[in-house]
Amino acid sequence: MADLAPMIRIAFVGKGGAGKSTVAGTFARLLARRGEPVLALDSDPMPGMPYSLGVAVDDHPIPEDVVVAGGEGRPRWVLRPGLDAAAMVDRYAAQCPDGVRYLQFGNLWGPVVRLQQAQFAWSQVVAELDTQQWHLVGDLPGGTRQAMFGWAKYADTVCLVVEPTVKSLHTAARLASLPRAQWGPRSLIVVVNKARDAADADRVAARLGVEPSAVAPHDPAVLRGDRRGAPPLDTAPDGPFAQAVSVLVDRVVSLYSQPKETAQPEESAQSGEAAQREEAAR
């Protein structure tokens, strides 16, 4: 694992409630336990990752004074001169259990202007990060919008988290087109979450045309922990959910140990940084 190269860059997407944040935070911690440097990236203005990471406070805002107006031909806001991605991570990424660092915009409370400034700062940090320094584990808001607008383009692997419900499968089927986007990831993997039986995994595989990399069974201990905001690795460290995410970590590590094929981009979703900025400005 120590000579893993290149570093993992994975983003978790799916319908709201499917368990993206729970899987992503657990994945980040289990990867970090292998002695790897892990930076968790959260682009959800209602973040769930702090709970699965086990961070005491869920709001770690990037302050608005880190940005200045970008001026003509540049993004609306850019990092203040003298601030770079490494400094931003050093100052504003929260310290989490198992050594994971966690960078979010900050929570959305009322007016969105301050959040937009933080979003621009976050996007610039992610774009300018030294990708040889960190494994990146990202969590997007539920649904298709952010993913289709390119918020996961730092990732070369997208992990679709799917519940075996019709609505979750419907969203997943749309998100399965992401690798065909111009900026899209090179690989797409699937995790079935809250599975009740083997038929659930089969149903997901049949609908998406992708064999799941891991199947996390319905785990009452995880749900009970969720009520208290407690991470699965603390409430049920050896439970079936944690075991399934451990399998996922193995699969992803193995994926990165293999030579990758060059992506064959096609247009299927709005592309480029302009799209992401447009979304941030909404």
Partner: protein
């Protein structure tokens, strides 16, 4: 659209995107009632508190809480403690709803007599009474 559409006597039921993004972008006083649905999890309660705050500051009508997927009295208490004395409807955790979700059918069609369906009927009655007795004036 919610604020300006001519809907006559029709009741408009809008299901907003998860989170509070859409709520923050609504025109002030665009709706008569905002129903905030929360699960008894820390995260859901946190989002619900933000939604209540936005709805009230933007004058989005009365705020009614729905506590969904409630298993027991502890779940209920977790929600009432977080939100105080507000109109509340409790929808119990209900396997019939889970099953309907898996089949992609409405809970009303899947099991009309399910406890969760009955609770949503209570919500409908509460809203009808609330608005019928004191119609909103914009």
């Amino acid at each position: 659209m919610l604020g300006f559409a001519e809907t006559g006597d029709a009741v408009v039921v809008a299901d907003l995107e998860a989170g509070i993004g859409t709520l923050t972008r609504l025109e002030p006083a665009a709706v008569d009632v905002t129903v905030v649905v929360v699960e008894p999890t820390l995260r859901s309660i946190d989002v619900g508190r933000r939604a209540v705050s936005v709805a009230e500051s933007q004058r989005q009508g009365r705020v009614v809480l729905v506590a969904n997927k409630v298993d027991d009295e502890q779940d209920r208490a977790r929600i009432t403690e977080a939100f105080g004395a507000r109109p509340l409807v409790v929808v119990p955790a209900d396997p019939a709803v889970d099953a309907a979700d898996r089949f992609g059918v409405s809970p009303v069609d899947h099991e009309p007599s399910a406890p969760a369906v009955a609770a949503v009927e209570v919500l409908a009655d509460m809203l009808a009474d609330m608005l019928g007795a004191d119609p909103p004036v914009r």
